[in-house]
């Protein structure tokens, strides 16, 4: 029995824990041997330091959560998979980590792999090498939370946390056939999340099913005085939204998401999903999100501008890597030139350019205005509709190395997820099919600010009437 604990969901394990049928240590040791067996192939986790660290990060209680390497864990390495943060051990826990511990659960002793500073859509930009997709090791797991998604998909984790700035939870969830939720901006505290783009970042759960997603949201949501952008609204019990009748739900299908560039197999799977929901009484209507084509260009101005400012703190003085020079300014420049990877430098320079004198109005200010139009498109649709349904990504997982030399092509793999971050609305990706090559396809459901419950009701109804979430990759 113990051998297969890793394959269970958190709510199944929770029941066994409550019945005293198993102990938390049993789950941990099952996961550890699973990781030992599979992670040399998948590379979902960062290598453990040789010497164990002191501190309370090692206490195992409840069901351990796998944590992305950009979320601060007290006493345990948090390096954003970047050379510039090499060796950084946070002196405090992120609020989400505190909440996980307070709920009786704990964090896994491993951090999950990611694109450096969450800059990427494939988990290839990591100082620890690329993570592989458990469904096909020659494919990427998506990114930037590719380590968390691959760990959950390969049963190397029961559940995990990721962060989503432009799709970094939902797109890897889609590529790895698991469930990933980006909550409403402000629903989950960002305190202790190493910032990429502060107006877009949100932490969220990556899980094996919808129930676990709701459970983890119950734990991590809520107002935090340490994050002035977190919103002081009561947190509902999200599991109560599961099993709710979705008959009469009004769902919009934006036509701009079904145009050239969408893989026919992905399109067919999403259409099939629409048909199964229709049978449950959901009302679908074609709608328009007029400014969809501008979301990617808006994002790559706003996100890089915010990143260039946030990453100014990495200068070799307070933490991480420092290069040698006798002059302070040259020390900064060498430290940042040597410590940041290629994509990080590309984004910092693009963002600095967009904010620089002479270009600010043409790029940054214009992008903020188009962001308003994108947000207004959603606002007006949500007056009439409960949810919006789309594919999560235009294709299934692509090959390792396929897009790495063409940043623009890489950026376009987030084309369906970015708008939700710009508008601040919640979105989920859940499995809805497989390609003929056996790669997972993801379905995205979006809702109005703070209406995660509607997403959960609809997603759960779909999940309970299909078998996609039960499929597992054949890794061994």
């Amino acid at each position: 029995m113990n051998k297969k604990l890793y394959s269970l969901s958190a709510h199944e394990l929770d029941e066994s824990l409550k019945n005293n049928a198993i102990k938390s240590e049993d789950i941990c040791s099952a996961l550890e041997s699973r990781i030992k067996e599979l992670d040399p192939k998948v590379n979902a986790y960062l290598k453990r330091p040789k010497e164990p660290l002191s501190g309370d990060a090692f206490v195992s209680t409840g069901i351990p959560v796998a944590i992305k390497d950009n979320i601060c864990t007290k006493g345990f390495y948090t390096q954003c998979c970047s050379r510039i943060l090499e060796g950084f051990i946070p002196p405090y826990d992120a609020t989400v980590i505190k909440k996980i511990k307070e709920s009786g659960h704990s964090c896994l002793k491993f951090k999950t792999n990611m694109d450096e500073f969450a800059f990427g859509s494939s988990t290839e930009n990591s100082f620890s090498g690329p993570t592989r997709n458990p469904w096909n090791l020659s494919c990427v797991p998506g990114g930037s939370s590719g380590g968390s998604a691959a760990a959950v998909a390969s049963d190397e984790a029961i559940w995990a946390l990721g962060s989503d700035t432009g799709g970094s939870i939902r797109q890897p969830a889609s590529f790895c056939g698991v469930v990933g939720l980006k909550p409403t901006y402000g629903r989950v505290s960002r305190f202790g999340l190493i910032a990429f783009a502060s107006s877009l970042d949100q932490i969220g759960p990556i899980t094996k099913d919808i129930y676990d997603s709701a459970l983890l949201m119950n734990i991590i949501s809520g107002y935090d005085p340490n994050d002035s952008t977190s919103i002081n609204l009561p947190v509902p019990n999200y599991t109560k939204a599961l099993g709710k009748d979705v008959k009469g739900f009004k769902v919009g299908i934006p036509k701009e998401y079904f145009v050239e560039g969408l893989d026919p197999e992905v399109k067919a799977s999403v259409e099939e999903a629409i048909n199964s929901l229709r049978k449950l009484g959901v009302d679908f209507k074609e709608v328009s999100l007029r400014h969809t084509e501008y979301a990617v260009p808006v994002y790559y101005i706003i996100a890089t501008a915010e990143a260039s400012s946030n990453l100014a703190r990495f200068d070799g003085v307070q933490y991480g890597f420092r290069s040698k020079d006798v002059n302070l300014i040259d020390m900064y420049k060498k430290t940042r030139g040597e410590g940041f990877g290629e994509e990080a430098k590309r984004r910092i320079i693009l963002g600095t350019f967009a904010l620089s004198h002479g270009y600010y109005d043409a790029y940054y200010l214009r992008a903020l205005k188009v962001r308003t139009l994108i947000k207004e498109d959603f606002d007006s649709l949500f007056k009439e509709f409960d949810c919006i349904l789309t594919p999560t990504a235009p294709t299934a997982a692509f090959k390792v190395g396929e897009k790495v030399n063409d940043p623009l092509k890489m950026y376009l793999s987030d084309i369906y997820t970015i708008s939700a971050n710009l508008a601040g609305i919640p979105g989920i990706s859940l499995p809805c099919g497989l390609t003929k090559h056996g790669m997972p396809i993801g379905l995205q459901i979006l809702a109005r600010h703070f209406e995660e419950e509607k997403i959960f009701s609809l997603a759960y109804a779909f999940e309970q009437n299909t078998e996609w979430h039960k499929l597992k990759p054949k890794l061994t």
Binding site: P297, V317, K333, G337, Y363, R371
Partner: protein, 94 residues
């Protein structure tokens, strides 16, 4: 639109030292990306106000009351160079 000279100028603003080859590759790549971003010029934004946060908040205030801070040694423990209770940097004045 963006050439090697601008890339080097901006890299200096961002305090990033680039190798010769990096600056070449970046000017081509950023040229492509900015070419794509120029799409935004099609949009009429004359009467549109900018959105810097999706959920608008203003003046989030709190009481100015002292709270416990992190212990100095735990904060300094990550410093590449330190002396006493200070971060150590190269000399900035003659």
């Amino acid at each position: 639109m963006i050439d090697k000279k601008i890339v080097e100028y901006v890299a200096n603003l961002a305090r990033i030292e680039l190798k010769e080859k990096e600056a070449d590759v970046l000017s081509t790549q950023l040229g492509d990306i900015l070419g794509f971003i120029d799409k935004l010029k099609e949009v009429n934004v004359d009467k549109v106000s900018p959105t810097s946060h999706a959920i608008s908040l203003s003046n989030v205030l709190r009481e100015d009351s002292p709270k416990e801070s992190l212990p100095v040694n735990s904060v300094l423990s990550n410093a590449p160079l330190k002396r006493g209770n200070f971060f150590l940097v190269p000399k900035v004045i003659e």
